[in-house]
């Protein structure tokens, strides 16, 4: 694939070999970068350091932080069953997304991506949930999942079907995570489908035609040609899906608050509860730091791996 930066070095001022020119160029670069730099420093980087600082204290949030306890928060965190459950749930969501959501999206893309009449219409429909906020989505599904058959649509319909029992979708510890996963799928499948459609459109027709001439059937076409050529798109889709799954918050919080009994707890609800419900801000900061480390580690490893794969391919 193409290299990251252009070979051609562009000078912004007519090239002369003196230092004032160099200085001017540097100044211009800095000015252009300054606004973004300020934003990112104040609101991204500085908060990380603040979090790291507070994570070393036992702080109730009222008044200044004075009770220094070192790494105690982290020790407590790693030993907390609920946090471990949150991490586990996060991983489950990631895995389910990869195994179910993405293949389904790919399938839809393959169908819709071709010159099928009405594809613009279907594309528009599938992508719609993405533009609705997580809040609207969550409240919508809260109504659908209401356990009372005379109020919740889902159970109302199930009630009619003879051998199915209405369930407490969001209140049953074993059903709640799948129920939330359905909502996540509903919201994001269109997005991933779109990615794949675009990727598909970038596959040159000639390759497919050449393969057809060589006599491949459609199954072989998909496995040996389409998918490998979609590798870049798949890589991105997977990355976004994992990062997105790790940080889902509003959806879970509004539907279940992480309950019942932490059955649907994820890292961000855990963080929110300890920071903004339990008043334990030092501990909450520690959770934030751990979340950050997990996200960063994953990102770095993933990018390394995929870069290597690309290189070898």
């Amino acid at each position: 694939m193409s290299k990251k930066t252009s070979d051609k070095v562009v000078r912004i001022l007519p090239q002369t070999n003196n230092s004032t020119w160099q200085l001017q160029e540097n100044m211009t670069i800095m000015l252009f970068l300054l606004p973004a730099f300020i934003f990112l420093s104040i609101f991204l980087v500085y908060p990380i350091f603040r979090s790291a600082y507070f994570s070393l204290f036992n702080w109730k949030g009222l008044g200044p932080a004075v009770d220094y306890i070192g790494l105690e928060n982290f020790r407590r965190l790693i030993a907390d069953q609920i946090f471990l459950k949150a991490v586990r749930n996060g991983i489950l969501i990631v895995v389910f997304s990869l195994l179910i959501q993405l293949p389904l999206a790919m399938g839809l893309a393959l169908i819709v991506g071709r010159n099928i009449p009405g594809r613009a219409f279907f594309r528009a429909i599938f992508f719609m949930p993405y533009v609705l906020s997580e809040v609207i989505t969550a409240v919508m599904w809260l109504i659908l999942y209401n356990p009372n058959p005379s109020r919740g649509f889902l159970n109302a319909i199930i009630n009619i079907i003879p051998f199915l029992e209405p369930q407490a979708w969001l209140a049953d510890t074993s059903l709640v995570l799948p129920a939330i996963f359905v909502v996540l799928t509903w919201k994001y499948i269109g997005f991933h489908m779109l990615l794949y459609i675009t990727g598909l459109q970038n596959i040159p027709r000639e390759i497919e035609e050449a393969a057809l001439i060589d006599g491949v059937n459609s199954h072989q076409m998909v496995t040996h040609i389409t998918i490998p050529l979609l590798a870049g798109t798949i890589k991105t889709s997977v990355y976004l899906s994992i990062i997105g799954s790790l940080q889902v918050y509003a959806l879970v919080w509004i539907m279940t608050r992480g309950g019942p009994v932490n059955a649907s707890e994820v890292m961000s609800t855990y963080l929110y509860r300890y920071s903004f419900v339990r008043f334990e801000l030092g501990y909450g900061s520690a959770v934030a730091i751990v979340m950050l480390l997990i996200s960063l580690t994953f990102s770095i490893i993933y990018l390394r791996l995929t870069r290597k794969a690309e290189y070898l391919a």
Binding site: P147, A171, V176, V277
Partner: protein, 426 residues
């Protein structure tokens, strides 16, 4: 073309909403502003507060009262965030107890002891109720309501299955539950998703089984929450859960769900505080609630328990004053704590009066029962999650939810509370 439409569309929304808000904007730039946060989202109650505020503003044109109404859980969340910055509201809802004590310790509340001592304002309040809003000898707020938790029940449904008298013992309660279930009626409504409604059960069982002694010792750290009384409370709770008396999905239901069930006559019993009838009305389809089908009985006695059948679990509501509040805030507080105001509150079922002379406003027969019950109690226990430090109170609620969900044993639940208490109560 599309882009043009888009741009005009956004401009249109902006103009429309700008115009609308301009039309409904209030008079600006008054010298004194009081920020008042309360949790009365029910229409009737909300309007009562607004009317009082309007009245006061009419009489005091230099004062502007800005009301923020938040639902219970949102209020707690919002308050935390705002506490950190030290920008405390001037006047806000409080249940007293450990949470308020923490706030006072951190210097976030205004000491209004002197105001209370003036002109006999202090004497207008029932002493016990006022005491809830005091810490370390100083007063930080005043109560408006004090009541207790008890079983609200639907008399019609009880009569339907032939229950003539409300249960007085735990065994009778379980029997009645069976009868109701057999008739296809949901015996108990419970919004355990919010956690605190279910905590009442465990706390009352502990009150009945362990009496005043067990809790006071545990909370003061002379004893422990692993005291057999608390473990047995858990076991009894499991008995209740095993009887399957709650509605489908109770583990994820909210207090509002609970109130809706009761208000629409879809459940027979509800263990709840004195604000229940108002909520039943608010959440019923016809806005009538249970009306004269409303009944109330005290939490049943547990056979062999060390507690007394009159012991009460409960609490009240009040307002505390923020540290930066303008002087006028206390004056306004006095205004809404007047006898007339209390009578008005009692009439809409907002408050069980704590101001002497306002009892007359209490006309609802069941609320009178509640008030009587509170007065009769020798041992009155403030809800655990308000009495104990917030972190421990939170743990109590979580532990009880674990009992309801079957993910925790009574021993584990008690131990969890004990661990938190050991860590938080010094």
């Amino acid at each position: 073309m599309k882009k043009l439409i888009l741009v005009w569309f956004m401009v249109g929304i902006l103009l429309a909403s700008g115009a609308f808000t301009a039309l409904s904007a209030e008079v600006q730039a008054d010298p004194v502003t009081i920020n008042w946060w309360h949790i009365q989202t029910e229409t009737e109650h909300r309007n009562l507060w607004q009317n009082l505020a309007d009245q006061y503003m009419a009489e005091n044109p230099n004062v502007k009262i800005e009301i923020t109404v938040l639902e219970n859980e949102n209020f707690k969340a919002k308050l935390t965030t705002v506490m950190q910055s030290g920008e405390v509201p001037d006047l806000f809802q409080s249940w007293g107890g450990g949470t308020m004590n923490d706030q006072a310790e951190a210097g976030l509340l205004k000491d209004i002891t002197a105001y209370l001592d003036k002109d006999g304002w202090r004497e207008t309040f029932s002493e016990g109720a006022l005491g809830v809003y005091a810490y370390d000898g100083k007063n930080y707020g005043v109560p408006r309501d004090m009541g207790m938790v008890g079983f609200w029940y639907n008399k019609e449904l009880f009569a339907q299955v032939g229950i003539d008298n409300p249960p007085a013992t735990w065994t009778e309660l379980l029997d009645d539950i069976e009868k109701l279930k057999a008739a296809g009626i949901t015996p108990i409504a419970l919004g355990e998703g919010d956690k605190w409604p279910g905590a009442f059960y465990w706390e009352y069982l502990a009150v009945r089984i362990g009496g005043e002694d067990a809790f006071v010792k545990a909370a003061s750290r002379e004893g422990s929450f692993t005291n057999p009384a608390f473990v047995e409370a858990g076991e009894k709770l499991l008995e209740l859960v095993a009887a399957d008396p709650f509605q489908l999905g109770f583990l994820g239901a909210t207090w509002a769900d609970e109130a809706t069930l009761m208000g629409n006559g879809e459940a027979a019993m509800d263990l709840m505080g004195q604000w229940a009838p108002g909520s039943f009305r608010e959440n019923s389809i016809d806005s009538q609630g249970l009306g004269d089908k409303t009944g109330w009985f005290k939490f049943p006695m547990v056979e062999g328990g060390a507690g007394h059948p009159n012991d009460a679990l409960g609490g009240g509501n009040g307002f505390v004053v923020g540290k930066n509040a303008p002087e006028e805030t206390v004056d306004f507080l006095k205004f809404i704590s007047s006898v007339e105001s209390q009578i008005a509150q009692a009439e809409v079922g907002l408050s069980v009066p704590v101001i002497k002379g306002a009892e007359a406003g209490l006309t609802d027969p069941t609320l009178i029962l509640v008030q009587q019950g509170a007065a009769d109690a020798g041992y009155f226990q403030l809800y655990y999650d308000q009495y104990l430090p917030p972190a421990t109170g939170s743990v109590v609620n979580d532990a009880v939810q674990g009992l309801f969900a079957g993910t925790m044993t009574p021993e584990e639940a008690a131990q969890m509370v004990e661990d938190s208490a050991a860590r938080e109560i010094k």
